[in-house]
Symmetry: C2
Subunit: 245 residues, 2 copies
DNA sequence: CGTTGCGTTGAATAAGGTCAAATAGAGTGG
DNA sequence: CCACTCTATTTGACCTTATTCAACGCAACG
């Protein structure tokens, strides 16, 4: 349990899902204009975070979900014996905080990897409105379910893939998610360190670094520190798919 | 996508959550008598499965959740290139099928590891009732959230633990879940093969077998084929917790 | 009583991890 | 603006762990 209260710096910014550019990636996905009005009333405040700030920590009382409005987050789980692992990286339009619903306390830490902003979604209120707005209820259930499916993908990655497959799959996944946000699919800035990537992929940071170097030698990517340029998508995909023989 | 329709052998058995012995482990958890009546109307049929039968398969259209009433299941994810991984083992009182909500199609296979029976929970109907019964809505959200938290535990296991820690954690976890069901915490029958355990833990079956043998030598457990007797719980816990140095 | 699937065990091997040293940038204060 | 720090990253050499490959044992079942 973490007793230190998260530093509050809550700007009361008026938020409108109905005019948000992330509408089609986020909770409002598929809602019509009338339904969006309900959401506009529900999601009324935003919270800015500086790089390194925790949005919430393991043990914190759960009260709200958060939609990433801008910036980049990681979520992290810690065991009693002090080991931790990054369990996800989160970008605009994605929903954070669902780990806390089951026990009324968060089980993860969510940390901003760059200056960021989230929309606050008070959970009791979300439940209340989704009792009235069927399509919102359905959409929320879909968001949770997709998170479950995402987790299965990560388990697959951790359980069956070799190091080079993991790193390749990681780059492809980032690329796709960047694309969905209208950013370059092939040219991007990693917000996380090699250690955080390694933690997420179940590898050591040296292994990640070596594989980045090897992919570069093989002409698959160009790596300059945190700047990645993907040169050969089919080549990366081939690495993921290929038989380990 | 799997086009083969699941073989239907649907006995119309009358089910009553309100009188079910798994009430406090399952979806009805925490509901009062009046609220349980709604559930009784919702969950009205059961479906028996033989060992090896699929409850659903990846690609099947999603329509219902399932509560394990008796027996034992595994869920499994398969990649395009034919590799698969066991992502969970499921025992009475646990809810299956939530992977299908997000896309209206299942992404997992759910397979009975022994003759089993599930209660069928038509999902549209569940959503409808949970719009009226607040505590059911809350309970369902908790069930999904706990599944997310469980997945994080598996990621931690796969990402950071050594082989002996994984096997030890696996045995402890089984033991705890058996205990919650009123069965022996220390004496049980594994329904799954070494290969399935290995797949779940991200290990090869030989590694699992070797570790069972070593744990037996060390007096932590007694292993006879699928019959496990845990002799030293603190010893097993020490293996999980200990620093790898 | 042979077949078949599952489990155990040993020896060799390869994939990643560990340890250590060198380098490169980013940020800071003078 | 420059020197200085600090952290992140890269790379090499070596080592540990788990996998691979192979052989054998066991139990259930027709």
């Amino acid at each position: 349990m973490n007793e230190v209260p998260t530093q509050i710096s809550l700007k009361q910014l008026k938020t409108h899902c109905s005019s948000c550019s992330l509408r089609e990636l986020c909770l409002p996905m598929g809602l019509d204009a009338g339904e969006l009005e309900h959401l506009d009333r529900l999601v009324s405040t935003r919270r800015p975070l500086k790089r390194g700030d925790s949005l919430y920590r393991s043990g914190d009382v759960f009260g709200s979900l958060y939609a990433v409005r801008s910036g980049f987050f990681k979520s992290r789980v810690t065991t009693d014996d002090g080991r931790d692992q990054v369990t996800g990286f989160h970008m605009p339009g994605e929903i954070l905080g669902m780990d806390g619903i089951g026990t009324e306390h968060h089980t993860l830490d969510a940390v901003a990897l760059e200056d960021s902003e989230v929309c606050i979604i008070p959970f009791a209120h979300l439940e209340e409105i989704s009792r009235e707005v069927k399509s919102l209820q359905r959409q929320f259930h879909k968001v949770m379910s997709r998170e479950l499916v995402r987790d299965q993908g990560v388990m697959m990655l951790l359980g069956t893939m070799r190091a080079e497959e993991r790193v390749s799959a990681f780059l492809i996944n980032l690329s796709q998610r960047f694309t969905a946000r209208g950013w370059s699919p092939s040219d991007f800035h990693l917000r996380m360190t090699r250690e955080e990537i390694g933690s997420y992929l179940g590898l050591k940071l040296e292994t990640v670094s070596r594989l980045f170097s090897r992919f570069q030698e093989d002409g698959l990517v160009s790596v300059q520190q945190k700047h990645i340029r993907i040169l050969d998508v089919p080549g990366l995909k081939k690495i993921v798919g290929q038989d380990p023989c």
